[in-house]
Amino acid sequence: MSLDTVAIAEENPNSVQPFAELGLKEDEYARIKTILGRRPTSSELAMYSVMWSEHCSYKSSKVHLKQFGEKAVKSAALLVGIGENAGVVDIGQNYAVTFKIESHNHPSFIEPYQGAATGIGGIVRDILTMGARPIAVMDPLRFGLADAPDTRRLLPGIVAGIGGYGNCLGLPNIGGEIVFDESYAGNPLVNALCVGVMKHEDIKLATAHGAGNLVVLFGAKTGGDGIGGVSVLASETFNSAKPTKRPSVQVGDPFAEKVLIECCLEIFKADLVIGIQDLGGAGLSCATSELASAGSGGMDIQLEKVPLRDPTLSPEEILMSESQERMCAVVEPAKIKHFMAICKKWDVTATVIGEVTTGERLHITFNGQLIVDVPPRTVAHDGPVYNRPIMKPSYIDKLAESTFTVPLPTAADEVKAAVLKLIASPNIADKSWVTSQFDKYVQGNTVLAQPEDSGLVRIDEETHLGVAISTDANARWSYLNPYEGAKLALAESCRNIATSGAKPLAVTNCLNFGSPEDPEVMWQFAETVRGLADACLELGLPITGGNVSFYNQTGSVAILPTPVIGVLGVIQDVRERTPMGIPAADLDLYLIGKYNGNLSGSEWAYLHGEIGNSAPVANLEMEKRLVDFLLSGQSIFESAHDVSNGGLAATLVESVLKNKIGARIELNDVANALFSETPGRVLVAIAQNKTNDIAKLAVKYQIPIYKIGTTGGTNLEINQAVISIEELSKAHTETFPRLFG
């Protein structure tokens, strides 16, 4: 194939170009021509097509996401906000924390191991790019039915990929979620969160300033993997009627990334970069245009200098390649020698591929021929924006008017059977088959990890400062009411943070939805964003960034709307954290917060094929008081565990099984009390001489509390139902090994 240069594009304005195959619509192609005043070269077309894809440009979500900025509270804690690779939050003592969550859903469906592995790799580089040392990862996962053949293909591969990559990087995996629902069949959700820490002065940004400064590409060599992955994989619905488009999913090399991390941290420490950007989706197209766009000048790149794994790659392919473990930095000429020496120490390939210029354009040449001449902003930031039609789905009102019934146990043997059935169900069952494949110990600072309410990591060994992270979503509530669902997910995540003893500080999100071209999906999305923005405003928490994953649907069937909300909290002394497990006998058990008996969206209803009729309405004013109650009560709580999926039944069983210490519980209206998932509730254990203390807190924060039992013995006794710890343990732990080997 001959080289398509700017000169040729000018000479042959009418050449037919495969813009549709690259995922561009006709009007988008026309817009590129208007911007350039000519047809794009094939290299320019490649760049625009990947950068204007849904995945990179947020073209369908932008009009909604701007609420996050408009409604946001002014938070002094926010050091870097939305728009950079990841937001940065001040946690005190001159420490800054950056965290972000991203999806790698489509690649993981195609190739579970590599898709999930490179999902971890990508988010870790985003965190590293901010100047931070990555300190932990988490992975919220969603699959089709647990016993479906495809789930058996996907889950073990995805879990192995997350472990294979994350373990090899030396990052503790401290939590996540695993949820099964038939709507995720064919569209598994693989979200990955990473958190990193740095000192305030070490924050780095993706920008290219100063004419004459050098653009350095370092890390792995560029190969043919993942070419077009962004535009074709992440931005089109899987449709069995059309021929399948399955370009290669990127292949990860965690060792290269580990070395790259150490190399970057040494480079940062020596203060050798002006700006830095990782190469993820859209590869060099993204890195060069974003760096140049955020800077003050232009940029010249000599593409033939890019070290290649496959020497046959064309310039277009080099620009689109999504080869992993690469970074792009802007370095002053005076510092380049030092920069290169550090790369050499870590055996990291580093090559100067261009420089920052005084101009306003991004010029890319290949062996001296000009193949790209564009205003970088038009590639990186001025992509198309769509205000897509929205329509409230008809199912919502239909469900709201419907009634549903599920069997409610009353007799002791019925209660026992129901509890055992619930805790053996895949969504509630013990997940250690998965989490034991992840290293939670490395770095030596993990204080709490899954199945605790939040993952909690020590930041400073002297002062005991730490951070907590939780990710949550209740997609069934979001299906019934996406506005409330988003608020409830945020409330739950904050509650999990506070339950462990940390103060909620900032929010990130990964919004997983079906096709934005479906007005009903778009309505779900719009309502979700509105709910999350309102909830953040009411709780006084800034959103530091996020990710949108559309096109999670097969044919006309979309996944449940799944906004995964991540909350970061800070704890001044990690030794004061509260674990979930009952630690001793003869403690009093209190249920904090009131239940209303609604089983809509609950696991118990789901087990009987019902989704219910209405989501709970989030009471954020109460949730705020609950957080304050929990934080004030840390010193008297011996254990604390949130009530969420599976209701009080699941909470009790998990609290008992953690340290194998039983409990005796008395409940009125036993079935609803056990299985309702009414939000805003926590189970706590306190010493019996602390009754007055908890009562005072309850009055102070106006939170209803109910003493429901005491700890001790070798059974969980609920009214007359007696279930031995052995029986609970067997039911809880056998499900995953039975399903997945």
């Binding site: 294979g164 373990n167 060792f255 070395v259 034991s436 939670k440 110990y441 490395v442 993990t446």
Partner: protein
């Protein structure tokens, strides 16, 4: 005076900072050693930490054994210099022929991270002298290739000479022969251990503090010299 214990960082080492933390907590001074240099910096003992040296893309530890630092360590170890290899470090010691046998894929083929009960079998090595014989401890185990394998003859030698220093108790995590979790060389100065004592030094971040004894054992022995 302070006792200097080196911790080697290979490309891909992960638990190097954790090993250093344990050494410091035991009262020693941790000295970082880099794979590319053969300088042992006058340390009195060395820990080869866990991780995935060179990605472990070949056999685990197979490339690390050729690092310049390993030449110095092998020479010194053959003269009685104390070396503790943890997890990947154990694998490196086997590949370097300082210890017999090999670590292969876990029998269930999965990476496994769990709190593992061990029985300390030999308290005569430099690294286990602080334990009582038969002591049961709980420390983290985390690896994908931790199944200790060797031929019958080697196994007989290890058992008859009392060179099995720790065995898995109550649960077989990986299919190791005779449930072997760690072994020593003939002299007892070189010890390889699959579980991670450096992650059991404080109850806040580990299941016990029993791991610290491996490090205090060595420091006490070195003080006595």
């Amino acid at each position: 005076m302070s006792f200097r214990v080196g911790v080697v960082t290979f490309p891909g080492s992960l638990d190097d900072r954790d090993a250093a933390r344990a050494i410091e907590m035991a009262g020693g001074t941790a000295v970082p050693l880099f794979h590319a240099s053969d300088d042992l910096k006058e340390v009195q003992a060395v820990v080869l930490p866990g991780g995935f040296s060179y990605g472990d893309y070949l056999r685990c530890g197979a490339i690390a054994r050729f690092a310049p630092i390993m030449n110095s360590i092998v020479t010194a170890a053959n003269h009685g210099f104390p070396v503790l290899g943890i997890c990947n470090g154990f694998q490196v010691l086997c590949e370097s022929h300082l210890l017999p046998g090999a670590l292969t894929r876990n029998s269930n083929l999965h990476f496994l991270c769990r709190d593992q009960k061990l029985k300390i079998e030999n308290t005569n090595t430099l690294w286990t002298s602080g334990f009582t014989a038969g002591e049961e401890i709980l420390i983290p185990l985390k690896n994908g290739e931790g199944s200790f394998q060797c031929d019958d003859e080697t196994l007989n030698i290890l058992e008859s000479e009392g060179r099995v220093i720790a065995r898995y108790l109550d649960f077989d995590p990986n299919g190791s022969r005779n449930l072997i979790a760690g072994i020593s060389n003939e002299r007892g100065n070189v010890v390889g251990l699959m579980p991670h004592p450096e992650h059991a030094i404080e109850t806040l971040t580990g299941p016990s503090t029993a791991g610290l004894t491996f490090f205090t054992s060595a420091l006490h022995q070195l003080v006595g010299r």
